[in-house]
Symmetry: C2
Subunit: 336 residues, 2 copies
Amino acid sequence: MSDIIILSHGDGGILTHSLVKDIFLKYFNSDYLNKLTDSVHLNFFNEGDRIVVSTDSFVVSPIFFPGGDIGKLAVCGTVNDLAVSGALPRFLTVGFILEEGLLLSELEEVVISMARTAQEAGVAIVAGDTKVVEKGHGDKIFINTTGIGTLLEGAALGYEAVKPGDKIVINGTLGDHGLTVLTQRQELGLGEGLRSDCAPLNGIIQKALKEISGIKIMRDPTRGGLATTLKEIADFSGLDFTIFEDQVPIKEEVRSTAEMLGLDPLYLANEGKFISIVESGQADDLVRLFREDPLGRESQIIGEVEEGSGKVYLKTFFGGTKYLHYLSGTPLPRIC
Amino acid sequence: MSDIIILSHGDGGILTHSLVKDIFLKYFNSDYLNKLTDSVHLNFFNEGDRIVVSTDSFVVSPIFFPGGDIGKLAVCGTVNDLAVSGALPRFLTVGFILEEGLLLSELEEVVISMARTAQEAGVAIVAGDTKVVEKGHGDKIFINTTGIGTLLEGAALGYEAVKPGDKIVINGTLGDHGLTVLTQRQELGLGEGLRSDCAPLNGIIQKALKEISGIKIMRDPTRGGLATTLKEIADFSGLDFTIFEDQVPIKEEVRSTAEMLGLDPLYLANEGKFISIVESGQADDLVRLFREDPLGRESQIIGEVEEGSGKVYLKTFFGGTKYLHYLSGTPLPRIC
C-alpha cells in the first residue's frame, strides 16, 4: 500500500477497499461497518424513541492543533449539536473528502482520534464514505459527520420556553478554540499556551438535564462565538439579553492575544462550551453542578433575560453598554 | 449581497445567515429547517419502524453535466443507497463545502436541482450546514448527503439469501453516467449524445419489492461499475456469478466511445441503475415489472448464481470466459 493518498483510493475499486479495511474498519471497529453495504440498519431504537438528527462538515486548517485535530472536532461538533438539543447522541456517519498526496499516516492519526473521541462520547460510527480529489482541489482532509440521537425523556428545550428573569449560564472560558486555530496559521509566534477547548459535552449536559429542572434552552457557541449565538436566541425568542462583561470567563492569554490581533473573544468559536438559559431560581444549582465536572470548572452566570425585541446588550467593564450583533466583516475562515 | 461566495459566507455570521435564508430556505422550504437550530427532531416515525441510514459525499467534476448536476446526484445517490437496502427514504441532511469565488447563481441552480429531485423522490431535507474554503482549496461545490429511511415491511434483503440458481437482473444500460462525466472533462469532442442516467430509484424499487417475492438483494453499481459491485456481492455471499456479455445492455454510443478511450463500460459508474438478484422463477416477472417503468425499459436478466467461492465470470460475445475483478489500476476520479 502506498504511503500517500492517490486518486485510485477514491475510485471504488481495490484501493478503496484496502483503505476501508486497513484504516477505517481497523479503528472504527463497528459491527455496523463490517458488512460494507450501501446503508446500515440501526436496530437499537426502542418504541417511542424520538429521533434527532444533526449534520456538520469540518474543514479546519491546520488539521492538527493544540488540544485537538479535525477528527476529534468532527466527532465533538456533531455530538455537541445533538446534546444541546436535549438528545442522547447514538450514531454517527462519517464522510471523508481526501486530497491526493495526503499522508496515510496523517489520515490514520485522524481516524484514531475520531475512534477515541467517539468511544469517549459513547457514540457508534455506523456508516462512512470516502472520496478523493486531485491535489490542489481540496486541503488534506474534509470531514462530514451526521449524528442521530434520541430525545432525552423530559428534555423539552426550545426558544418559546425562555422568559424574562431567566439567567444565562456558560460552562467555562470563551474563545479558546478559535484563537488557538487562528494563531496556529500565523507565523507571528503568537498563541503560546493556547489550547482548543474541543470536547464532547454530552456527559455534562445529560447530567444537568437529569438533575436540574428549569433549563429552557442550550446552544453551543461555535462559529460566530458567544455573541452571534446569543443574538440568534434573542431573535428567535423575541426577548432582550444583558451580558455582564466582568462575569464572562476568558483566559488571560486569550484576552491578551485576541487584543493584539484585534479580535473579540466573544466572536471567536468555541468547541467545548454551551450556553444554558435557566430559570432564575435554578441558576446557582446549575452552576454548582457544572463546576463538579472537569468541563464546567469555570462555569458562570453571565447574564439575564429581559422583556424586549431580540437585542443583546453587553454591560462593559467600564459601566458602558454596547449592542452585540451577528459576526460581520471579519472573516474567520476554517476554524471548524 | 455579493454575487460570488466569499469567505464570510462560511463564518457563521451575518452573511452565513443571508445565504441560508436567501438560498437554502427559499428552495428547500422545509418546516424542519426554518428554526435553524443545532439539530432537528424527526417526529414522523411510527412505533416499530426500523431506521436505516446511509451517507455519501459528492465531488463530481464538472458540477453540471448532461442529464444532471452535483445537486441532483447528491440526492439520488443517497436516496438510491437507501432504496436498494429495502428502505423507504424519508429524510436527508445536506452539508455543503463551497469554494471562495463560486458564483451564487451556480449554487442556486444546484440548490434548485436538489429541491426538485428531493420532491420527486419524496424525501424531506431536514438539516444543513455550509462551510467555505479559500480559492484553490476546494473545487466549486462538494456536497455530503446523509439519508434516513425506514425499512419496508417484508423487505429482508441480504447476502445470505442469495442461492445457486438465482438470476441477476439489471434495470437498464450500463456506463452512461461515468462516461458522460469523463467525456465532459476532456476537450476531445467525444461524448456527443451521452447523458447521465442519474435518477431516484426508490419508486421502481418499492414497486418491485411490493409485487415480486424472491428478491434476495439489490445493489446500485456506482463507483467501480457493475463488475466491482458484482464482485463485492460474490465475495460476501461466497458464490460464483456468471454474466453473459450479450445480455448486458449498453448503449451503442457508450460502447464505441468507451472503446476509443480504452475504458470498459462494466467498470464505469452508474447513477440510475441497480442489480437485483432474484429467485429464478420470479426473474421474468421482475423484468416485466421493471419494463413498465421509464427507469426500467431496458431491463435484462444478465446472469446467474452458481456454487463457488466468490468469483465473477463474464461469458464474452465470442464464447470465451474471463474473470471480473475489482476496479484497479485505472483511476476514474470524481465521477460522483
